[in-house]
Amino acid sequence: MKKYFSFFRLRLQMGMQYRIAAFAGMATQFFWGFMLIGAYKAFYESNAAAFPMGFQALTSYIWLQQAFLALFITWRFDNDIFTMITDGGISYELARPVRLYSMWFAKNLAMRLSEAALRFAPVLLVAALLPKPYGLSLPVSLPHFLLFLLTLGLGLLTTIAFLMIVYGLAMRMLSSTGVRLFLSGIVEFLSGQVIPLPFFPDKVRFVLELLPFAGMQNVPLRIYSGDLSGTPMLHAMVLQLVWLVIFIAAGALLLRSGERRAIVQGG
C-alpha cells in the first residue's frame, strides 16, 4: 500500500507544477460557466414552470461543475498510459513488484486532484461573489455539504474506475483511439456533464439515474443545492457505491488479464 501512496504523492507533486495550464483552464471554465448560465436563463425566462430545477440550484450546479471539472471530466485520460501501452514502456511497470491497477489508479487520482486543486478555489470564489441567482449559493445545510463532499469523492473514484476500464480495453487492442473517444463521449453525456440529468424527459431520466454514470457528478452536484435530498438521495448514494464496486472489480479483472497477455511492443 505504501508504494502506491508514495507514487501518488510523487505524481501529485508533479501535477502541481503545471500552473500555467491551470490558469488557461480556469479562463475556459469561467467562459463556459457564463455561457451556460446565459443559455439556461433564456430557457428559464421563456417558461419557468417547465424548468425542472430551481434556477439557483442550476447555477450552483454549473459553477461547481466548472470548478471541479478536472475531477470528473471523462475524456481526461492519462496519455502516458496509452503511450506506454503502444510503445512498450509498460515493460518497466511489469518488471517491478507493482499491480498495474493500483499504480494507474493512484496516478490518475493524483493527476486529477492536482489539477482540481490548482483550479477550484478561484472559480468558486468568483462564483460566490456573483449576484444572486447567477452565482454559487451556500450549500442548503451542513449535512448536505458533508454529503456533497462524500459523494464528490465517490464520484471521482467512479470516474477513475471508468478510465481504468478503458485502459484495460486499450491493452487488448493495437489502437484504442476509437474506443476511447466513443466511450468518453457517451459517458460524458450520460453523467450529466453536457446537460444536467433533471433536464431529460422523465423516462429517460429514470434510466439514466440507475446507470453508473449518474454517480460521477450528477449526484454530488445536486446534493449540494438540495435538489437531491431525502430518500431519493439515499437511493442515489447506495447506487453510486454499488456501481463503484462493480467498476473497480471489472477494471481490476481486465488489467489482471492484461498483465498476463500484454503484448509488449518494441525491443
Binding site: S6, Q13, G89, R96, P97, G267
Partner: protein, 268 residues
C-alpha cells in the same frame, strides 16, 4: 539459477497493405501473421555468471529478456529463475531482479532523479539503512552526486544510463538484466558502464545477463556468450568460438550471422 527449456513465444502481428482502402477493409477483417520470436530456446545460467546474448536484429534477444524478467508469458516451455516462475510469480520474483532497457527510461521525467529513487525505495520496500548504503555506494561508483538533483529530462544519454543502472540496483537484486545498456553511448560512458558492471559482478556476485551489439562490451565483460538466431540457440561458448583468424571480431560476427540459415541481413 536460470533455466530455460524449449521456450516458444509467438507474436500476433496485424498486417495490412498500406493505403486507405486496405485500412478500411482491415476494420472488418483483420489478418494476423504469427511471428515466432522464440522457437524452442533452451539454456542454463549459473549464479554469479555474466552472460551475453548475441544475435542479429530480430533474433529474439529482447523477447528472451522479457520472458526472463517476468514481463511476458511464454507460449510453452519451462522457465525458472532463482526458484521462481518469472511471469507467474511476478510480484515476488521482480523483487529479486533488476532490469535496464537501454532504449527506454524508468526515471520519472519531470522530477529530480533522487525523487525517482525515493519512489523505488518504497516500491521495493527497501529498508532505510540498506537504501542509504546502496545509494551512497552507487553514487560513488557511478559518479551520480551531481545528477541526483537534476530532473531526468535534462540528463544526457550517458548520464541517464548511469542513473538507470543505479535505479535498477537500489534494492540489491540477485539478477540483473541489461538489454542494450551501451546503446548510443560515447566511448567514455561505455567504459564507465562496463567497468561498473564488472565490479558489480565481482564484488556482489550479481548474476548478469546482457544483450548488446557491441563486441567490445562482450570482450570486456563476459566469458560466456549465447548466440541466438531466429529464436533458437545457435552457440553456447566464448568469443573464441566465433573469432576467425585474420579477421576483426565484427567481421567474424558478420560471417557468423550470414551463416545463419535464411538470414538476409535485414530486420524481419
Amino acid at each position: 539459477m536460470i533455466h530455460m527449456q524449449n521456450v516458444v513465444k509467438t507474436y500476433r502481428v496485424a498486417r495490412r497493405d498500406s493505403g486507405a482502402k486496405a485500412a478500411f477493409f482491415a476494420l472488418f477483417h483483420r489478418k494476423y501473421d504469427l511471428v515466432r520470436a522464440l522457437d524452442g530456446l533452451s539454456f542454463d545460467i549459473d549464479a554469479g555468471e555474466i552472460v551475453a546474448l548475441l544475435g542479429p536484429n530480430g533474433a529474439g534477444k529482447s523477447t528472451a529478456i522479457k520472458i526472463l524478467s517476468g514481463i511476458l508469458y511464454p507460449d510453452s516451455g519451462a522457465v525458472e529463475c532463482g526458484g521462481f516462475s518469472p511471469a507467474r510469480d511476478r510480484m515476488r520474483y521482480t523483487r529479486e531482479i533488476g532490469v535496464v532497457f537501454g532504449q527506454r527510461t524508468q526515471l520519472y521525467w519531470d522530477v529530480p532523479v533522487g525523487d525517482s529513487y525515493g519512489l523505488l525505495q518504497d516500491i521495493y520496500d527497501v529498508p532505510e539503512a540498506e537504501f542509504k548504503r546502496n545509494l551512497s555506494e552507487l553514487t560513488e561508483l557511478l559518479d551520480l552526486k551531481e545528477l541526483l538533483r537534476t530532473p531526468a529530462r535534462q540528463l544526457s544519454l550517458g548520464q541517464r544510463m548511469r542513473c538507470e543502472l543505479a535505479a535498477s540496483l537500489l534494492h540489491s537484486p540477485r539478477i540483473l538484466f541489461l538489454d542494450e545498456p551501451t546503446i548510443g553511448l560515447d566511448a567514455v560512458s561505455k567504459l564507465a558502464v562496463r567497468q561498473f558492471v564488472k565490479v558489480l559482478n565481482e564484488e556482489k556476485k550479481t548474476t548478469i545477463i546482457l544483450t548488446t551489439h557491441d563486441m567490445q562490451d562482450v570482450e570486456a565483460l563476459s566469458r560466456r556468450v549465447l548466440m541466438i538466431g531466429k529464436g533458437k540457440l545457435l552457440l553456447d561458448g566464448t568469443l573464441q568460438d566465433i573469432r576467425r583468424d585474420g579477421e576483426s571480431l565484427d567481421e567474424s560476427l558478420v560471417d557468423f550471422y550470414q551463416g545463419i540459415e535464411g538470414f538476409d541481413g535485414k530486420e524481419e
